[in-house]
Symmetry: C2
Subunit: 348 residues, 2 copies
């Protein structure tokens, strides 16, 4: 007799894991701290996803529907795991809603926390209404309202997207790269240009990290087809002249100061470790890595092993990750759980 | 009664897929065109892998042993698939060795082909003995012979690693980024510095793409702990003054020509589509994408779907990919096959 698998977090990785388990007849229970499944793409209202171009509400919404409709999956929203005891094949979890769950294994898919731009005050967020984040621009687009300046709802004529806000920045204790912001920003720049063909869009970068096939689909296409302008620069500050936002910095290719006025400045915010990771680490008895993400073993053995046997991890819980790779890791972690049953003498 | 799964290619993705299937009691047959399993890390003699730091022969060698020892996996080396007919649950494949295989599904893990540096003649490969590739340096390290100049076996005092050889280069029809060469080169630079502490190592780059957590572990560590020097430059040519190799280019940060002598110049070669892809595409009846890699569907449904139902794809067959992500995709594709049996009315 097998027990269900505890899936902690109902974003792309968790939805993939629960679906995979369901397709082979394995029960799972998704415990999601928010009131709704879908993770960042749904909860933060993302627009069109990289690299598919599909709307988040359709793509990830479809993944949500799939598990909600599956009789093998039960869902506990608005709940967290408050205690977790036992060993592989015989875990017991208590939830914040008072329920108790017996589980064979757990897959931790607790994701990340968006960097809060107020921690980078010299770049104007929190001071100027028209300094926003990539997440806010995603919401402007996905809501159907279009990209507007929050101060007066006008259509911006000049937009600056500043990369690496909360990434590659030792001054604020975030030295990692958030992996996907370059590509997401290229994508957003094209969406802005598509909606507002007269709007000029500039991307300020340190290195453009549109790795792999994203190079052609995002970096080159955004420049050649959509006339997005890329400036390699070190930003000093974002101020205002009372009318426009002023982005001051140094163009690091020509080693000259540049000061350009904009209507809208967008922070391409990075991925922090989930703020709950210290609590999750203690509750589940698993180690975090040096930056505070969930530590994960090498992939040559089982996928997604944490420091605690029987507890697996997938997706951006382990570090900045793309949605696509989070999904792959979710499926692979489900597979790892199925594989582990062999050792437990249980069948799928 | 279920048939085996045909796994085409015995590199990291294929080894992961076959292992996963075996752990749930599913038969698979790996068809590998080379005489040995392991894919590029084994066949090309890689040294220590990114990001684990484990030797390829141990890490991937362990994955090979695992499937060779599994009674559920059979292996056909030195063989290719020459015909493939049927539909999900009922495929028949013919191999170049004359064998016929019935299969429920296929997972294509046929990987990539290393870029051949002779296609970039102005950078000196093929002309000067001491211009080598990252793969050759991997072999120098993994063989235990150490990093030496091929012309006279001396220890180099100055090494240049040139990034993006066969990547991000429209002149030679390769506009994609090969994703992992930046990180692999940082890693190799540290290994060279570790073996030869008096050797200066320079990395010539366009953008440093050590994405995610690789940023701290490779980019910063290589600079701070190992004193590797990074030069943002456009390379014009690699020549020789009769004694040293001369790398000529423009430092794009100071907009000045730079000419530096080196003992050893290393091409960080990119990942081409597998040269066999046109044949694979025709034999399996699957579509390739615009660059010649294997086309793959979005990940919101099943993982790794090709244009032909029942044929899945994982790893660098789909585009430049890391070993870690190839492994994840291999496990996830195995899971996708298991999931598909539900629709076929078969159980795992």
């Amino acid at each position: 007799m097998t027990k269900p698998v505890l899936v902690i977090g109902g974003g792309p990785a968790g939805l993939a894991a629960a679906h995979s388990l369901a397709t082979v007849g394995r029960q799972s229970i998704i415990v999601e701290k928010e009131e709704q499944l879908g993770g960042a793409p749904i909860l933060s209202g993302y627009a069109k996803l990289v690299p598919s171009g599909e709307w988040a509400k359709d793509a990830i919404g479809g993944m949500v529907k799939r598990v909600v409709d599956a009789p093998e999956v039960s869902v506990e929203t608005g709940a967290t795991v408050t205690s977790f005891d036992g060993e592989p094949g015989n875990f017991t979890a208590e939830l914040s809603n008072g329920k108790k769950i017996d589980a064979d294994a757990a897959i931790l898919c607790s994701g990340f926390t968006h960097f809060d731009s107020v921690n980078k005050p010299e770049w104007g967020f929190g001071t100027y209404e028209d300094v926003v984040t990539t997440t806010q621009v995603e919401q402007m687009i996905s809501s159907g309202n279009g990209v507007r300046c929050p101060s007066d709802d006008r259509k911006p004529q000049r937009v600056a997207i500043l990369l690496c806000v909360g990434s590659r920045d030792r001054q604020i204790g975030r030295e990692w790269c958030s992996k996907i912001c370059c590509t997401v920003s290229s994508n957003l720049a094209m969406e802005i240009r598509e909606e507002l063909p007269d709007c000029h869009v500039y991307i300020y970068y340190m290195d453009i990290r549109t790795f792999g096939l994203y190079e052609t689909k995002y970096y080159w296409r955004s420049q050649e087809e959509f006339k997005v302008k890329y400036i390699k620069a070190r930003i000093a500050e974002v101020t205002s002249d009372g009318e426009k936002l002023i982005v001051k910095g140094e163009d690091t290719l020509v080693k000259r100061p540049i000061t350009i006025p904009f209507d809208l400045v967008v922070h391409a915010i990075g991925m922090d470790p989930n703020v709950d990771n210290p609590f999750i680490s203690e509750t589940l008895g698993i180690d975090l890595e040096e930056h505070g993400f969930v530590g994960v073993g090498n992939r040559y053995g089982a996928m997604g092993e944490t420091s605690r046997p029987g507890v697996y991890v997938a997706g951006a819980a382990t570090g900045p990750e793309t949605i696509d790779d989070s999904i792959a890791q979710g499926h692979a972690a489900a597979m790892a759980v199925l594989s582990s049953f062999k050792d437990l003498g249980k069948t799928a």
